[in-house]
Amino acid sequence: MPKVKVPRKSTTVDMTAMTDVAFLLLTFFMLATKFKPDEPVVVDTPSSISEIKLPESDIIQITLDKTDRIFYSVDGQHTREEVLKRMSEKYKVTFTDKQIKEFSLLSTFGVPIAQLPQLLDTKPEDRAKVDQKGVPCDSLNNELADWIWQTRLVNNNVRVAVKGDRETSMPVVKKVIATLQDKKVNRFNFITSMERPE
């Protein structure tokens, strides 16, 4: 019987090149992207053909969700701390140092200032479950106006961006625009998604 020896070939593949590719892609994503700030509410923005990009920093973002709640956010840790201290003086609500630190890390919130210490005390994982009622913007109690005013006092160059949901009703939008006009903000932006012009 002729001995037919099947030549054994090595079955291991050298994975060195693959790891290089993987880490290259990883480095790209780490450097070219920014973490999406976790917002307490998901907003579906309407689309527009406008292609102006939102500036990177110094933005006040007023988010309106479809149930007409108003959420407020300003970027910059230092700005947030300063604004909180001023608001706490104005509204006579005290915050502990730990809460102030927590606030400087918080991106968006939507509660009246009286409930803010409680919100800051809940752990970030539990915060998503808290039902935030929205920053008040009524004629009697316009906290939104004060937040905007104090933020502009701290940082003069902030731009205001309004991010609304498609189904947000007009009265709330009108109230926000009237508040902005009242506080001398006459130039602001609406955040929209991309649309191809027909």
Partner: protein
């Protein structure tokens, strides 16, 4: 290729008598490392975003500073009023030149043949230079003129003295996307002057008559 001759060399140099530890192969299998790498990539792909959000710029007039008599008067023939009503409908009317009273309300919607067709038609009637905008756009795309010149030409055409002026009033049961859509139409139809104002009671009654209150 980086390969370390571990096992083979040890076997060949084996000396009898001397106690030699069995040389183990030093080839490391990198497959789990690749898994880790791709896991991290997937994590970053899902939790970060590369594109910055788009925005539309809005300029509102300064409130309460201009006296009523100082506001520039607009001719009744120049203006069209758009009322944003519920169910994604737009009601528009012109002010009658002779009587000064609002004319009959017409209903349209946000589709291409709706409010856009009306606005383009009315703008074209009043602004004879409007069609040059498409010509300029083509010239820009071909590279015949640069961006700055293009913008200059466009703003000249848009600020034509007798061009269409649009007054936008939103009813309380309209949606935010209606307003964004209308502002979009302002950009698409190259409307030079428009304003967002509060709706009045007369107009609310007008909406009632067309069953869109």
């Amino acid at each position: 290729m980086a390969e370390i001759e571990g096992g083979g060399g040890g076997g060949g140099k084996h000396k009898g008598g001397k106690k030699r530890g069995k040389k183990l192969s030093t080839r490391v299998d990198f497959t789990p490392m690749v898994d880790l790498g791709f896991l991290l990539i997937t994590f970053f792909m899902l939790t970060t975003s590369m594109n910055k959000p788009q925005t539309m710029e809005i300029n509102m007039p300064v409130k309460d500073e201009v006296e009523e008599k100082d506001k520039p008067k607009i001719k009744a023939s120049q203006a069209i009023t758009l009322l944003l009503a519920k169910d994604d409908k737009v009601v528009y009317y012109f002010v009658d030149v002779v009587t000064g009273e609002p004319g009959p309300p017409m209903i349209t919607d946000y589709s291409k043949g709706g409010v856009r067709a009306t606005l383009i038609k009315e703008n074209r009637l009043r602004n004879p230079n409007l069609d040059s905008i498409t010509v300029y756009k083509r010239m820009l795309n071909e590279g015949a003129i640069n961006e700055e010149k293009y913008r200059g030409y466009i703003s000249n055409i848009k600020s034509y003295k007798d061009g269409l002026i649009v007054i936008i009033k939103a009813a309380d049961n309209a949606k935010y996307k209606n307003m964004i859509d209308i502002l979009d139409e302002m950009l698409i139809c190259n409307i030079g002057r428009y304003a967002i104002v509060d709706i009045s009671d007369i107009e609310k009654d007008m909406l009632k008559t067309v069953n869109l209150q």
